[in-house]
Symmetry: C2
Subunit: 392 residues, 2 copies
């Protein structure tokens, strides 16, 4: 019943809307759970003109990141809040809240409120507000929720839509913990993840060498060739870590230069073995735990080798850093992309067409998540919620 309710307009709103308008849609959930079961596509009326100091935006492309699934499941430490622009007047959202999915996305400015400076209609913007609900077609946002992309339209939509999470994580992990110089080495696991691939490219652009660990697989040589092509110095497997002579081999690969930065998105036994390759005063930065095993490390590494273990969470970075730093980050990443040094991830764009009814759109969305559940999709999925005139 809830679902049916969401897929219609509330009477008070219907009266306000025109007979023909933009089909604004959003992918929402009322309760946490399996995304392939709890997600629904709903429609909502055209946005009113923006209030002062706010802008209306139209989403062009919004990725599905692994963390988005955790948010819908309710196992992520942050969750979206329902926003005014999606809560029609009189709906009583307090008692019956609906959350819009999606954290990352590229949007175009469609309408500018009084008092806004440095932004014009047609500009491309990305979200710095976390859990902004990017799986929607149009939203009204505060100026502080967004960031204008510099030289934006020289980028592809995919590059721009995926810039705020993975390349940002990679860039900051390479810069926030130690000062890397040309010729320095770093080591990472999960090197074929979206972040891992960005790490390889950003490190290579600085002349920093990378030891990249991945799972062994039938297609290892293909993957190795791909990562080497991106700029990886060496691609190795977790199995290599169990070889007795491996530490000595690594010493010879790095000409004895100590490794002082280690990026981890795996955890478990592989990470424990990987950390043994590190030099003194090393920083281990974790941004994921794909093995679902805890990070177990010998205490002696902390005491005698002065290992420091940190976590990195791009959401916290956006919360803590001033706007000038956020802008600077985007300038740097955009520059790398324009210079051809930072590719968009392998991806697939899935369009939710206006010709779909809400029910059809909902089942299209749920089937995407059903496929994602089966794991190891390999390609980044981006959603395009088509907008267009539609008989209301």
């Amino acid at each position: 019943m809830h679902r049916r309710l969401l897929c219609t307009f509330w009477p008070s709103i219907r009266a306000l809307s025109t007979k023909v308008g933009w089909a604004n849609r959003a992918i929402v959930y009322a309760q946490n759970g399996d995304p392939s079961k709890v997600l629904n596509v709903v429609e909502y009326p055209p946005l009113p003109p923006p209030l002062p100091y706010t802008v209306n935006i139209k989403y062009l492309l919004s990725p599905i990141n692994p963390a988005d699934v955790n948010v819908v499941e309710g196992v992520y430490p942050t969750r979206p809040i329902s926003t005014d622009s999606l809560t029609p007047i009189g709906r009583g959202s307090k008692d019956d809240p609906v959350f819009v999915g999606g954290n990352e996305g590229l949007a175009e400015v469609t309408d500018i409120g009084d008092g806004i400076r440095g932004l014009k209609e047609g500009d491309w913007v990305i979200m710095v507000k976390q859990q902004a609900g990017t799986w929607s077609s149009a939203r009204n946002v505060q100026m502080n929720d967004i960031l204008k992309l510099p030289s934006a339209k020289s980028l592809t939509e995919v590059q721009a839509a995926t810039i705020t999470v993975n390349p940002s994580t990679a860039y900051n992990m390479l810069h926030d913990f130690i000062k890397l110089e040309t010729g320095d080495w770093i080591v990472q696991n999960g090197a074929n993840s979206a972040v891992g691939q960005a790490v390889i490219q950003i490190a290579a652009s600085k002349g920093v060498k990378t030891l990249n660990f991945v799972r062994s697989r039938d297609t290892l040589e293909q993957l190795r060739a791909h990562l080497i092509n991106l700029g990886a110095t060496h691609v190795l497997t977790y199995d290599d870590l169990t070889r007795k002579a491996f530490r000595e081999e690594i010493k010879s690969l790095t000409s004895g230069k100590e490794i002082q930065l280690c990026l981890n998105c795996v955890g478990g036994q592989e990470t424990q073995l990987m950390v043994r390759l590190l030099g003194s005063d090393c920083h281990l930065v974790s941004y994921g735990a794909m093995s679902k095993q805890p990070l177990a490390l010998p205490t002696s590494l902390f005491i005698f080798k002065n290992l420091k273990a940190h976590g990195f969470w791009q959401s916290r970075w956006y919360k803590e850093r001033p706007r000038t730093e956020q802008e600077e980050l985007m300038r740097k990443l955009t520059q790398l992309m324009l210079e051809g040094k930072l590719d968009a991830p392998d991806h697939e764009i899935i369009t939710i067409p206006t010709t779909d009814s809400c029910e059809e759109a909902s089942s299209r969305v749920r089937s995407i998540f059903k496929k994602l559940e089966k794991g190891r999709h390999g390609k980044k999925i981006l959603l395009k919620l088509e907008t267009g005139s539609r008989l209301l």
Copy 2:
């Protein structure tokens, strides 16, 4: 044969020495191994007058710390080097090196070389050089190896002899990672260790509250009373950590104030459970691993709660910090001791008398380590290598 050799003087030295002199002795080992098997007491001739910029010192009291055992075993990352003052001329130490045990100790200045300022005969000094070989009676040392104790003789010999390792570790862990204010909370395990007891006292002197975890035991109430008497706010057991409602109980104990410093000398499961009590942006500082289990922590704590895991090693601290900071640390600890806010550890002084032959002294020393091996001694053992006139 080796042992016999050590217990006599080498012919070239015998010629140099007088018939009656100070019986200089040291506890040494030629090879790493079980201290109760490899340690020997040897004699060596009176020290020559100190060279310029060096001083001769006489050890008054030298503790046996747990790490000293690891050094003798050869499983510690640092090891002593044989020094000139213990290597009689012509002995060929390069081919047949002997190491003197002991890292910490209190000594009295007996003779001052040219060029030394700010030090006079009779001053009390402690070692800042690591693995200085303090289980000996007299040594010649560089000015940089030692630190003069401020208002030294107002301290007891035991306070002064045990100041450089445990209270220093406690003090620095409480100051080097976060700025603690009156009313803040910290949590620690192994709270009845020598460092743990110093942590309790130093924290209490600053008005910082402590949650102290210890193993459950028959004498728990006695231990609790002792630690509370030192200034502990609460004394709890690792078993408490497994209770479901425990996190809520702690929240109520701390009135919801977030805990941002956690000191660990245990590792393993207990530490994993303890870390769940911590607030955001917390620092976990490890200085030991009594459980001999790795430090296993959920990666989510690093990523989402911004936990940072460090190690602390007082030896590194002395190596890295300038002399002014070392002196400042000693002033602060001495001050706390003089104000009655920092007690000496429970201890037992064992004298190695001059009336012992080298063989007798060696077997006395070995039996001490045999007892220590049996574990959980509870009291800090301090060695007094008696010096006196002795027929050579």
